[in-house]
Symmetry: C2
Subunit: 245 residues, 2 copies
DNA sequence: CACTTTCCTGACCATTTGGACAAGTTTTTA
DNA sequence: TAAAAACTTGTCCAAATGGTCAGGAAAGTG
C-alpha cells in the first residue's frame, strides 16, 4: 500500500537477482500485469483515441478490475505516456544511422523495407501514433521537435550530399523522407480501407512484401536510382542487423 | 415541436420559393444553424474521434446551448454521419473520370495536384476520414466497399491498359493509387508532425505547391513517365474543371 | 391579425466517467 | 515464520455524459 504514485516507473528490476529462480523473482507480478495492461491499452487507445478510451474499457480487455489498473498506473494519461515511451524507444532502435559513404539505393531500399516491416509487426503502435499526431501531437510534441527533427535533419543532410555528389536525382530530401514515411505508415493506419477496397478479410504476409517492393521500385526510380535486387536488399538488412545487435 | 426525428434531413428547401426575399426564406435559420453545428462538429470529431467528442463540446464551439444542437440532430451519431455524407459527396465530385485515351502523365499529375489541393482546402475532413478509417471505418465501411472499391477498380483498369499499351512502366495499379492517396493525404493528417519537424508554425501556400510538384516528379518518374511542365498540368486541370462544371 | 409551424432552452434523469480509499490477501524478506 | 512490502478489489463519489421533455419565444402564413 506504499508506492502508489511512483508505481508506474518502468523496469523496477532490470536484471534478475542472482540465485532467484525466474518464476519467483520479485517484480514479476508487476511486470506481467503492466505488460498486460499496456497491451490492452494499446488496442483501446488505437481504437478510440485518448479521450474516447475509458479505464474501464482497458480493464475489461486486460481482464482485470478497474481498481487494479489504477493501482499500476495512477491515471489514464500515465498509461498513454508509458505506451509512447516504448513506441518511441522501438522506433529509435530501428531507425539506424546512415553515412554519406553508404549506397543511396541500398540504404533507401532498406529503410522502406524496415518501415513496412514495422507496419506489419506493430500496426497498433502505428495507428496510435497516427491518432496522436492527428490530434495535434499533444504528448509526442516534444519528441518530434527534438529527437525526430534531428533525425530528419541528419538523414536529409546525407541525402543532400548524395545529390551533390551526383549519385541520385535532385529531389527535396525532407520531402523524400516524408514520402517514405507516409506511404509505408499507410499500410498499418489505413488497413481497414485497403482491405475493404481489395475485398480481403486480412493481410497476407506477401501483401507486405509486395508493398515494400512496389514502393522501393517506384520511389527509387523516382529518385533516379537503380533498383537493387531483392537479395541485395535482404543482405544489406542482415548486415545492418548484425551491426546493431 | 413536430418534426423532431426527421429534423436532420438535408436541404429541406432545395430552391428558393419565388417571390420570397433571400433573407426571409423559410428554413434559412435551420440551414444556418445546421451549417454552424456541422462546422463545429467537424473540428471536434477530427480532434477527439467519435467517442472522445461530446455534444457539449460541439455546442460550445458552435456557441449554442446543447439542447439546441440536439434539436437539429437527434443524437451524436447523426451529426457524425451528416459530416461524412458531405465529405464523401465532395470527394466524389472531385475525383473525375479517366479514360484509356487520356495521357497517363498528365492524368496522374492532375490527380496528385487535386488531392494535395484537397488536403490544403479541407484538412479537417481529411483528418476526420483518417480517424474513422483507423478506427476500422465503422461508418464509411459501406461506402468503401461499394463506391470506393468501384472507383479504384475503374482507375486501376485504365492504368493497367496504359501499361499494356507500353505507355508507362509496369507497376501495380492499385498500389500506385494507394501511394498517391497516402502521400497526399499525409500533408493534412500529419500536419502537426510535419510542422514540428520543419520548425514552422503554419503551412504557407507554397508548401503545398512544392509538395505537389515533388510528388508528381518522383511518382511519375517512378512510373517511367516524363514529368509534364507545371503549365501543362495547370492547363489540363482547367480543362477538367470546365468539363465538370 | 390570429394561428400554425418552427425554433429555443432550462430543468431533469439515468448512466458512465476518472479516480480515491480502506480493508483485505498474497508474496517477499529477514 | 512473522513482519513488511506488494498486490487486489469492492465500495464510494463528484462530475460529466447522452439524451428527454415541457413549455415558451419567434417566424411564417393565410
Amino acid at each position: 500500500m506504499t508506492n502508489r504514485l511512483e508505481a508506474d516507473t518502468t523496469k523496477i528490476t532490470e536484471a534478475l537477482a542472482p540465485g532467484k529462480s525466474r518464476r519467483n523473482r520479485p517484480g514479476r507480478i508487476r511486470e506481467r500485469n503492466r505488460d498486460c495492461i499496456l497491451a490492452a491499452a494499446e488496442r483501446e487507445f488505437a481504437l478510440h483515441g485518448f479521450r474516447g478510451t475509458t479505464i474501464q474499457g482497458i480493464a475489461e480487455r486486460a481482464e482485470l478490475p478497474k481498481s487494479n489498473v489504477l493501482y499500476y498506473f495512477s491515471n489514464k494519461k500515465r498509461i498513454y505516456c508509458a505506451l509512447f515511451d516504448s513506441i518511441m524507444e522501438r522506433w529509435n532502435a530501428m531507425l539506424s544511422e546512415i553515412e554519406p559513404e553508404d549506397d543511396p539505393a541500398l540504404t533507401l531500399a532498406r529503410f522502406i523495407h524496415a518501415k513496412v516491416e514495422m507496419s506489419r509487426t506493430h500496426p497498433l503502435a502505428s495507428r496510435l501514433f497516427a491518432m496522436e499526431v492527428i490530434q495535434g501531437a499533444p504528448i509526442v510534441k516534444d519528441h518530434l521537435r527534438t529527437t525526430m527533427r534531428e533525425w530528419v535533419r541528419d538523414r536529409s543532410g546525407v541525402i543532400q550530399q548524395w545529390i551533390d555528389d551526383g549519385r541520385m536525382a535532385a529531389v527535396d530530401p525532407v520531402q523524400l523522407i516524408l514520402l517514405i514515411w507516409s506511404s509505408t505508415q499507410h499500410y498499418a493506419d489505413f488497413q481497414a480501407q485497403i482491405l475493404l477496397i481489395e475485398n480481403k478479410a486480412e493481410y497476407t504476409p506477401e501483401d507486405f512484401d509486395h508493398a515494400a517492393d512496389f514502393l522501393t521500385q517506384v520511389i527509387l526510380r523516382g529518385c533516379g536510382l537503380e533498383v537493387p535486387s531483392a537479395e541485395a536488399i535482404a543482405e544489406a538488412a542482415e548486415i545492418a542487423e548484425v551491426q546493431a545487435g
